[in-house]
Amino acid sequence: MRLTDFAFAPIPEAAETLRGEVRAFLSREMRDIPPVVRADSWMGYDTAFSRKLGAAGLIGITMPKRFGGREAGAFARYVVSEELLAAGAPVSAHWIADRQSAPLLLHFGTPAQQERYIPGIVRGETCFCIGMSEPNAGSDLASIGSRAVREREGWVLNGRKIWTTNAHRSQYMIALVRTGGGGDDRHGGMSQFVIDLAAPGVTVRPIRDLSGGEHFNEIFFDDVALDGEALIGTEGKGWAQVMAELAFERSGPERFLSSMTLLHTLVEEVGAEPDALQAFHIGRIGARIVALRAMSLSVTAQLDRGGDPTWAASCVKDIGTALEQELPEIAQLLSAGEPRVDSGSDHEQVLAYLTQLAPSFSLRGGTREILRGILARGLGLR
């Protein structure tokens, strides 16, 4: 097998049968959600929607039954995820917990941690955010400075996190912080903790993005007391745990479907008889989505087998975000409508929204340059 092979991985029949269930749920619950809200998709925050989805048994479906899950495989989760994204469902309130936090806790957490956090995630009630970047540690994540120091049974945390999506409306953060000196190993001495964002000493300050929206935040930790149960996994092994987690973050369908609403409104705008230029560009986007989906399913199979798809996941994310960034460019090229804010047609509003959001696609979850560095290392160039 070569790195670039991405062997075809069909969706198993058992997972495919979930599709009808998800669509039935969506046709009930999405009826009144307009396109401009759908354009938010995995950035769209709606606790009521997430709770309904949890009650329908569609969150945390890979989790053990004792925690409320279905013990289903990675493909089942894939089918649910892509149907939610394709419909533009507001999934942000549970997305990160479902995608990363619950699997992380299941893999590295203690039985007590699992018991405490996973059932709430599965019910769609508990919102998690992921604390990685700091003011002086963005792409260079290994240079983080927030530090937890041992004190009696627990730890005391000081430092800052920034660009943390949903911190202002999450109950918990899973943060990567320093617990020791790295020594010669830049990636040593880091650990992951669950932090209760309501705890004394935690300050969350939303940061307005360029469109005026509030998705990400700056978080301050001033002598935050963490009990012994806050550490996830092994002290000092935080870096390796985070890297394993990133494969989930980078390979999923949100890396090429989060602009689907714009493709929907564009197709509606263009109508049933596209001219040659419109047909070419819409078809080109469609072909790339189809190909990326094949790649993403192949990564899902690797995850399902317990493989390490770091390289493949980075590949999917880099191609996927490039596609998502192209879509607003192409949409404005092909239709007469101009981008409009708080006014104009559905298409014009979705176009304005995604045009402004697009720069973030290749920043969040690892920049284009970081991903290409990972690819180059895998190719034997670094």
């Binding site: 070569r2 790195l3 670039t4 092979d5 991405f6 062997a7 075809f8 069909p10 969706i11 198993p12 029949e13 495919e16 892509e82 394709a86 419909a87 689907m260 493709l263 929907h264 409104t265 197709v267 509606e268 263009v270 109508g271 049933a272 008889e273 596209p274 040659a276 419109q278 047909a279 070419f280 560009h281 819409i282 078809g283 080109r284 469609g286 072909a287 790339r288 989505i289 189809v290 190909a291 990326l292 989906r293 094949a294 790649m295 399913l297 192949s298 493949a312 590949c315 880099d318 191609i319 340059e369 991903l371 290409r372 560095g373 690819l375 180059a376 190719l379 034997g380 160039l381 670094r382």
Partner: protein
């Protein structure tokens, strides 16, 4: 069977497709030793049913063979022969002996004799048989019965014109009823997608080796981020083309799947141009010489991307379909392209 196919193809083509073979083929010599080895190993019969003289592999398994044919720039109609024998099998006809090729048309079978001018036929002047179509029939003809006019693509691979005047077919059978009308064009586009994926893989390997060896400014050029990121993009394009092409094969178990093949050829054709440009940029002047082997692959990619429909032809095909289905059918149309495990066979 996939692993066995891949291993056999790597061995046979790896040993016998040498730069000397490629140079000789460019001046019109038929690579006899190579083709004999292909036949001895049954590579051209991989996806034809055993009952009809084939090896009995699945069409999905044949993907790795066609990709390997592209990877090694095999200067013989191996991909075409695999395709033709698979199509003959689906139509209930015996596999064709020797090298086979295909022609999209046009031509007509009337009163058991075939007449027509078939253009752009890969190795038309050298293959034994050509598969074409007359209305609802597949028609297998002997190339020796045609008047052949030579034409060459950018890699100097034969793309001949065959003129048949009242030729008696070797075999004919109804096109399976569930086949799309442009099954031969789709079949050709499908094999070219896989060959492009293979060719891109070869470019990637060649460019990485070169970048790790060539020293400038005191270090291998592969240590420069500008080069690393270009090669990362080449790897991405290779992966995208390969995944799309394999999906097309996997979706076509019962016959060419128009949606998946259109996506594959559109994606692969775009990747071919980008990938060739990156490989040439990384290899610099040496890669622009005839002496270096790079051009055996890049010149093929520059033709394969146009053959059996360019990127635009297939992208427009998809675009028109998506627009016709409209907003409500968009997602269903996108996911219909890849089969779930239940729908195979």
């Amino acid at each position: 069977m996939r692993d066995m196919f891949e291993e056999t193809a790597e061995r046979v083509l790896g040993d016998l497709v040498t730069p000397e073979t490629l140079v000789a083929a460019e001046s019109g010599a038929w690579p006899e030793a190579l083709w004999s080895a292909v036949e001895e190993n049954g590579l051209g019969l991989a996806a034809a049913p055993e009952a009809l003289g084939g090896v009995g592999g699945s069409w999905h398994d044949a993907f790795v063979l066609v990709r390997a044919a592209g990877r090694h720039a095999a200067p013989v109609p191996l991909a075409e022969t695999i395709l033709v024998n698979w199509l003959l099998g689906l139509a209930g006809l015996d596999a064709a002996p020797g090298a086979a090729t295909l022609a999209v048309g046009p031509g007509r079978l009337v009163d058991d004799v075939f007449s027509g001018t078939l253009a752009d036929v890969p190795w038309g002047g050298q293959a034994g048989h050509v598969l074409t179509r007359s209305e609802d029939s597949f028609v297998l003809l002997s190339c020796a019965d045609a008047k052949s006019t030579a034409a060459l693509n950018t890699a100097r691979e034969p793309r001949d014109t065959l003129v048949f005047a009242e030729a008696r077919p070797v075999a004919a059978a109804p096109v399976p009823v569930h086949f799309p009308p442009d099954a031969l064009l789709l079949g050709g586009a499908m094999i070219r997608s896989a060959q492009i994926a293979g060719g891109l893989g070869r470019l990637l390997d060649t460019a990485i080796d070169y970048a790790n060896q060539r020293v400038q400014f005191g270090r291998p050029i592969g240590k420069f981020q500008a080069i690393q990121h270009q090669l990362a993009v080449l790897a991405e394009q290779t992966a995208l083309a390969s995944a799309a092409a394999e999906m097309a094969f996997a979706s076509s178990a019962r016959g060419p799947c128009p949606e998946a093949i259109a996506a594959a050829k559109s994606v692969a054709s775009e990747a071919a141009g980008q990938g060739a440009a990156i490989a040439h940029a990384v290899l610099g002047a040496i890669g622009f010489t005839y002496e270096h082997v790079l051009h055996f692959t890049t010149r093929r990619l520059w033709s394969w991307r146009s053959e059996f429909g360019s990127q635009a032809v297939w992208a427009q095909d998809i675009g028109r379909r998506l627009c016709r289905q409209g907003e409500s059918g968009l997602w269903a149309a996108i996911i219909a392209t890849a089969p779930a495990s239940a729908s195979k066979g």
